[in-house]
């Protein structure tokens, strides 16, 4: 310090203007994309551009105002980044709808986005202090488990496309697993805060890794068994991989022990091999993964047709893509949900996909940054876990559609058409925003120099 003057600790800036500018920028990009689709298909700017663009813009402005009022110190980038991904998803779905693809409905997705923004706002307004969640550790765990098994209940559960992961309420279907993952991350965070010293310190050292005590392995084994059970009973490979991976990552964040990661990987590989030997649907996925170009598999129902169509589409797109509205993404089955990534890849090319992945990476980076800046262990774990689950989900689905790993059905966060995932991910973003607000908020300033009053932060 060269200047001895009593300079205040530099306050982190709120960056509200930057946030608003980035938000407007994201909306403009989305509207540009709509216009591009229209120009390419009909040769004119589509009437939907204003409806969808202003609709999305209105929702995001509302979200921004709620954020500015109830979480003023929140990270300025999270909301604009999410807006862009959500908007590009909307454009792709609109584009598929224009191509007369059955099942794609941009209007539905826009309505769900609105509902997502409402949930985002409600979460921010109701949950003033996210540490309240720490008191709900075991409640959250129970809720998560109940949500996860709820599709198996006889009258509530529904089976769609071979996976029994839906519940029907009235006419609408929901995927409770999407909400279960949030509850489970809260549970893992609360549990690990209480137990991390025991998990990190007790145990024996063998060669290079620290072996934990057998009784500390219990929760890991239970989570493992549980995620395998989900896989078996509901045939939902994606969710089980998501839950187990997140638990291991959070265990690593909490204890900083590599041994837990090794144990987790070994357990996972063991479980996967076991499941592959016993269950035919897991085995099928492996066969498709290893030999996607086998003609017999290509023609088989549930074979590699979908995967290969996705790969062909991305190949067709090349480096700069065919241009929005100028490819044939409707040839990919389910191009509006699980396979929205290859559909986007065909029209925007590698350049566009990389930009998209960068945007996801930045969202995750902001989340991890929040985790670093957080002031209590529970927030650190919760923010780390929520960011990881987002990153992990993107990895699983993008890795799946590019045939890097066996394909498991998961949605691309914020892009795929589907209400449950969108709602759950908006709640996730609200939690991250809430935590980044409390992490970046400056400590309370003293009201007076000295005296009877003390200012504390709760």
């Amino acid at each position: 310090m060269s200047t001895p003057s009593a300079e205040l600790v530099p306050l982190p800036a709120k960056r509200r203007v930057a946030q608003l500018v980035m938000l407007a920028f994201a909306i403009v990009i989305v509207m540009g994309a709509y216009a591009n689709v229209g120009l390419a298909i009909d040769g004119r700017v589509p009437a939907g551009m204003l409806t969808y663009g202003l609709g999305l813009g209105g929702f995001m402005l509302a979200a921004y105002l709620v954020l500015a009022k109830f979480a003023p110190w929140a990270d300025p980038l999270i909301l604009p980044l999410v807006t862009l991904v959500n908007g590009l998803g909307l454009v792709m779905i609109y584009r598929l709808e224009q191509a007369k693809m059955g099942g794609a409905s941009a209007t539905n997705q826009l309505v769900w986005t609105g509902a997502g923004v409402v949930l985002f706002s409600v979460t921010l307004i109701v949950l003033r202090d996210h540490r309240a969640l720490q008191r709900l550790t075991y409640t959250a765990g129970a809720v998560g488990l109940i949500l996860l098994v709820s599709p198996l209940t006889p009258f509530l559960g529904k089976e769609i496309n071979g996976a029994r992961i839906w519940i029907g309420i009235g006419g609408a279907s929901l995927q409770p697993a999407e909400f279960a993952k949030l509850a489970l991350v809260v549970f893992f965070a609360g549990y690990l805060v209480a137990k991390r010293d025991v998990l990190a310190l007790a145990g024996r050292r063998l060669l290079f890794i620290d072996l934990p005590r057998a009784r500390d392995l219990g929760p890991v084994l239970i989570t493992w068994g549980f995620s395998l059970a989900v896989l078996v009973v509901q045939k939902d490979l994606g969710s089980s991989l998501l839950i187990f991976g997140t638990f291991i990552a959070m265990l690593y964040i909490a204890t900083q022990r590599t041994s837990w990661v090794l144990i987790g990987i070994l357990l996972f590989v063991g479980g996967a091999i076991l499941a592959g030997m016993i269950f035919s649907h897991v085995q099928d996925r492996f066969t498709v993964y290893l030999h996607p170009q086998d003609p017999a598999l290509y023609d088989k129902v549930g074979g590699s047709f979908q995967l290969l169509q996705g790969l062909f589409a991305m190949g067709q797109g090349g480096v700069i893509g065919t241009g929005l509205g100028q490819g044939h993404p409707k040839l990919i089955p389910l191009a509006f949900s699980d396979f929205i990534f290859p559909a986007t890849g065909e029209e925007l090319g590698l350049t566009g996909l990389m930009a998209l992945l960068m945007v996801y990476a930045l969202i995750v980076e902001r989340g991890l940054r929040t985790s670093i800046a957080a002031r209590d262990p529970f927030s650190k774990l919760l923010a780390g876990g929520l960011s990881f689950i987002l990153a992990w989900q993107v990895f699983i689905i993008v890795g799946g559609v590019t045939n890097l790993i066996p394909l498991t059905g998961l949605v691309t966060p914020f892009m795929s058409q589907g209400g449950s995932a969108l709602l759950a991910n908006w709640i996730l973003i609200a939690l991250l925003v809430r935590m980044s607000d409390s992490a970046r908020k400056p400590p309370p300033q003293a009201i007076q120099d000295e005296g009877m009053t003390q200012v504390f932060q709760r």
Binding site: G323, E365, R366, Q448, E450, R458
Partner: protein
Amino acid sequence: MSELTLLLIRLAFLAVLWFFVIAAVGVIRTDLFGSRAGAPIPPRKAPKAVKPVAKPRKGEPRQMVVTGGPLQGTTITLSETPITIGRATDATLVVSDDYASSRHARLFPQDGQWIVEDLGSTNGTYLDRSKVTRPTPVPLGVPIRIGKTVIELRK
């Protein structure tokens, strides 16, 4: 719509998309180093104290400083009110430490001296090296150890 126009739109769109990413990174970059534009907030004018606080006499401690543990650097200005330390959220100094009890110890002034008293904690309170078993006067600059947290009184 001609092929060329569409090609140009396509390239422009990708460029704008990447420009968004770069702009986002730019926001983070300034975020890391803090913004220069914002002048430091002037310290709030201290309101006139209703009752002037009695000036501590010479040799009396004026503040409690945390010198070790996760809360290192925290200072609490001493007044006439007792200070409680523990994990409970209503304690004056809230320590998040597995080795501290929820109501761990208390510091209170008596006849110009500050006294430390253990409130039946599990792991004990240590004044310098010795365990505090009954209310003990705390000299200036002598560390009090509570779990992983070390505090001392200073002038």
